[in-house]
Every structure is written in structure tokens, then in C-alpha cells.
């Protein structure tokens, strides 16, 4: 059994061992180099959930662009942060956008948060063959508003590539720079004054931008933030009232650069 299928009880690994795998595991040498998008993260702050992403997309060691928006508004109360292959992730976002809005308009009520979370899980499961082939892996984050509690609360969810969904208590991160981000968030949440969860929006934005700067120091696939070259992040704040986009001008202002 290969190292990548060392999980106990992995039925797909069993199929592979017997040579009856439903999917071709090895990527063809002729396959094009995949474009990847990293790094995204979300954390609870005093005003809601702040979701952030750098804007770099890479293919191998080539920087494809520094202008990708990885934080996508699915509808007025849902955010998707994409890490992985943009071709698949953007299609998932489009499918979710259409299905959430279709449900709201046709049923005259919004889809519940658990149903939204599962809808993304289902898309990830349906992407399993591509994931196993290593040509379409997407590991997203999702944020939505829970209306079953009063007052309504924004929540963060993270997924594994097979579609398992987990609710993040304080924060979640995904993508190649996520290790650094998680370390910083964990440290600050335990020892920071104020903790990220206590930060008002101005401090939270400044903190998120500095996290991306730090991640880009250790991960070449993370674009980072550089005010000198007008390179900023995609930042969106989710509250029980809706979504607010933090513009580049605001990011500049909060960072204290003119």
C-alpha cells in the first residue's frame, strides 16, 4: 500500500491494492502543470468573521498571476475561500452560487447553513476521482451565518479534500502557506493581547495582512502583501447583517501607509 493511502479502513486503498481502483491514481507525465491557488484563512474577530486570501496563483515554480480573488461571495451570507486548483474551485463556487440563489428564489426562503455546508461537501465528494488523480484537488474554507441562534452568528467551516466538514471554533486556514498562518493564529489566540477574536475590524485587518506577509516569507506560492507595489489581499468581513468587502484603500489606511 502506498504511503498516501495509509489510513486504516480506507476502502479506496483496498480497491487499489487489488487493482480495481475506480480512478487512475497516477498523474500522466503528459498532464499539464496544474495552477494552484494559496493561501486563505478565516478567523473570528469582534465584528464577525474575517476571511482573507492572498492573490497569487502558481503553476509549479511559475507565478501565473498576482490578481486572483480567492475569497468568493456565494450569496449575501456565505463566503467561500478557495485553495487548490482554481479551475475546479471556481466551478464549485459557480455551482454553489447558482444553487443557493435558485433555492432562495424558488422556495422563497434561504437555504439553511447546514445544507449550505453539506452542499460544498457533496461537490468535494463528487470531485473525488479528480482528487485521487491529483489534478483537481480543492481544499476550501466556508463561512456562513447561523440563523438558528439568536442573535444570528457567523461560523467558519473547513474541509478535507474528500468532503469531510468540520466547524472551526476560532480560525481555519488552507493552502500551502496555511501552516505558518495556523501557527500565528494559534499563538495569538492563546497569548495575544488582544486575541484575534477580540480585535475590532481595523486591528483584525492589519493582523490578517501581516499574517499574509509572514506566510509569504516562508512560502513562495503565497503572494503576500506589499503596499509599495500596491499588492494587497482579498478581505471580506461576514457579519449577521451580510458581507463587507475591505477595499484596497481601506487596507492601505488600516496598515497606516499613504
Amino acid at each position: 500500500m502506498s504511503q498516501s493511502h495509509a489510513i486504516a479502513g480506507d476502502f479506496l486503498a483496498l480497491l487499489q491494492t487489488h487493482g480495481v481502483s475506480p480512478s487512475r491514481i497516477e498523474t500522466s507525465a503528459a498532464a499539464p502543470i496544474q495552477i494552484q491557488a494559496t493561501t486563505v484563512f478565516a478567523f473570528h474577530c469582534a465584528d464577525g468573521v474575517l476571511m482573507a486570501g492572498d492573490r497569487r496563483a502558481t503553476a509549479g515554480n511559475v507565478i501565473v498571476t498576482d490578481k486572483v480573488d480567492k475569497i468568493i461571495e456565494i450569496d449575501s451570507t456565505s463566503l467561500l475561500a478557495i485553495a487548490g486548483v482554481p479551475a475546479t474551485a471556481f466551478e464549485m463556487a459557480r455551482t454553489l452560487q447558482t444553487s443557493f440563489e435558485y433555492y432562495r428564489r424558488s422556495q422563497l426562503q434561504p437555504l439553511s447553513l447546514p445544507a449550505r455546508v453539506r452542499a460544498l461537501a457533496r461537490l468535494l465528494r463528487e470531485n473525488l476521482p479528480m482528487t485521487l488523480q491529483g489534478v483537481g484537488v480543492v481544499v476550501p474554507l466556508f463561512a456562513g451565518v447561523d440563523h438558528t441562534v439568536s442573535p444570528a452568528q457567523p461560523r467558519i467551516y473547513f474541509y478535507d479534500p474528500l468532503g469531510a466538514q468540520f466547524q472551526a471554533v476560532g480560525y481555519a486556514a488552507s493552502g500551502s502557506g496555511s501552516g505558518t498562518i495556523r501557527s500565528v493564529l494559534s499563538f495569538e489566540e492563546n497569548y495575544g493581547k488582544p486575541k484575534p477574536s477580540e480585535m475590532k475590524i481595523k486591528d483584525a485587518v492589519r493582523f490578517a495582512l501581516r499574517c499574509l506577509m509572514t506566510a509569504s516569507e516562508f512560502d513562495s506560492a503565497t503572494g503576500g502583501v506589499n503596499p509599495a507595489s500596491d499588492t494587497f489581499a482579498t478581505l471580506k468581513l461576514l457579519t449577521d447583517k451580510g458581507i463587507e468587502t475591505i477595499s484596497e484603500a481601506k487596507q492601505k489606511e488600516f496598515l497606516g501607509v499613504s
Binding site: 435558485y102 428564489r105 424558488s106
Partner: protein
């Protein structure tokens, strides 16, 4: 019996009379293009009359709720399929009505052994500027009229609708304020439901204002607003009379 052509014509004519008779007591709905967006207005008594269809599209109707629902679902299905397979920008009311809803309504109306749709509809498409707003008046038999901007009325009788439409066009087409327009449309609504004349015997403005306020007690004034300027793609906002300051 219907294999004889004149029998078929008679059956269709009877059907038209039947639909109009059934719709006689239905309350009217309105749509008005304004500089900031499109206002759709109806007064419901238990059932909704104004609906969002897609990002820039809305519908208002009168008639049997089940039939309005069938048309609404068909329009929403078609719009979302088009948006998903092509792009949201490709969803067009002209195509939706003329190639989708209208032929279906006509076919249904002429199939004399099935129940006809008891509906009269208004559909609106928000443009980038008022001159590009499209308003469609779609009838139960599939016939329709399209106009760019202005005000459109859907009422249960052709005479009442024409009179209200003429009054609104002649006196109020230059209104730019949403609240003012809603006030005028509610006056027209009251005149139609109370079967008041639109000529020189029309009640005065104060009577009209008091009249609609009294008549909507126990009912819901439904306002749909398609906002021209908005951060999100979905432009439809449901509003209440109180939110409009009425």
C-alpha cells in the same frame, strides 16, 4: 364536436370568457421604471403577488395563486438554467417571455380540454439605465406587449386596465421618487378595486389617499424594488409600505 372548426373557435371564445370571469375579482399589480430602479407593487390578501425571478428580473401577477406559482417556477427554472449554462448576463426577459413563457401559455390556452391558466402578469428587467428597462405585460393566452421604461398596469378587466394606464401615463410618468410613485400606484389600485371612474368623476386626491389606506387594512402592500445601484448581482429587495414611509 371540436373537430368542426367553428366549434373549436366557439370553445376558445368560451374559454376566454371563462378566464375573464374568473379573474374579475383579482386585484391589480403595477410596475414603474424610475431613475434609481424599477418598482413593482401589488396588494396581497394572504398570497404574494410580487416575486424575484433572477438578478435583474422580477414578476408581479394577479390570478389564481397556483397558476402564478407555475409560471413563476417556470421562469425561475429557465433563468437559472440559462445563467448556469451560459452566464447571468445572458438571461434576457425578451427571450424568456417570447421564446419561453408566451408559447407555453398560448399552447395551454388553446388546449381546450385542459384547465387554462388564470393569470395576468407583469415582468420587469432592470437595465443599466432607465432607458434600457424592459417591462412586459403578459396575458393568460400568451399574448404580450413590451415597453421600454414607463409604467405598466395589469388589471382584471381590459377597460379598467386601459383607463388606469392612461391616467398614470398622462399624469405621473415624470415622477422620479419611489415613495411618490408607490403612493400614486396605490391610488390607482384603489380606483380599480373599487371600480371608480378614471374620468372627471374620479374622486379627489384626498379621497384617493384615504381610500387606499382604508382598503389595504387587513391586507399586505407588497413592493419589490430592483435597485439600479447595488454591490451584489442580485438587485431585488422586498419592501414594506412602512419601509417606504407610506
Amino acid at each position: 364536436m371540436t373537430e368542426e372548426p367553428y366549434r373549436w373557435l366557439e370553445a376558445v371564445s368560451n374559454r376566454r370568457d371563462y378566464v375573464r370571469e374568473q379573474l374579475k375579482s383579482a386585484a391589480p399589480a403595477f410596475a414603474a421604471s424610475l431613475p434609481d430602479g424599477i418598482l413593482l407593487l401589488g396588494v396581497g390578501s394572504g398570497q404574494s403577488k410580487v416575486f424575484e425571478l433572477f438578478d435583474r428580473h422580477a414578476l408581479a401577477g394577479l390570478g389564481h395563486p397556483a397558476d402564478i406559482e407555475k409560471i413563476r417556477q417556470a421562469a425561475i427554472d429557465a433563468a437559472h438554467m440559462e445563467a448556469f449554462t451560459r452566464a447571468p448576463e445572458d438571461v434576457s426577459l425578451r427571450r424568456l417571455v417570447s421564446f419561453g413563457l408566451s408559447p407555453q401559455l398560448k399552447t395551454n390556452f388553446e388546449q381546450i380540454y385542459s384547465a387554462p391558466f388564470l393569470v395576468e402578469l407583469l415582468l420587469a428587467e432592470l437595465g443599466n439605465e432607465p432607458g434600457k428597462d424592459l417591462l412586459f405585460r403578459l396575458h393568460f393566452d400568451g399574448s404580450f406587449q413590451m415597453q421600454t421604461g414607463g409604467i405598466v398596469t395589469a388589471a382584471s378587466t381590459t377597460d379598467g386596465e386601459a383607463a388606469a394606464q392612461k391616467w398614470l401615463n398622462e399624469n405621473f410618468k415624470n415622477i422620479t421618487d419611489r415613495k411618490q410613485m408607490a403612493e400614486v400606484l396605490l391610488q390607482a389600485w384603489w380606483l380599480l378595486v373599487e371600480n371608480k371612474p378614471f374620468d372627471d368623476k374620479m374622486p379627489g386626491e384626498q379621497d384617493r389617499k384615504a381610500g387606499w389606506r382604508e382598503a389595504v387594512k387587513g391586507r399586505t402592500v407588497e413592493v419589490g424594488w430592483l435597485a439600479r445601484e447595488a454591490a451584489r448581482a442580485a438587485r431585488y429587495q422586498p419592501q414594506s409600505a412602512a419601509e417606504l414611509g407610506l
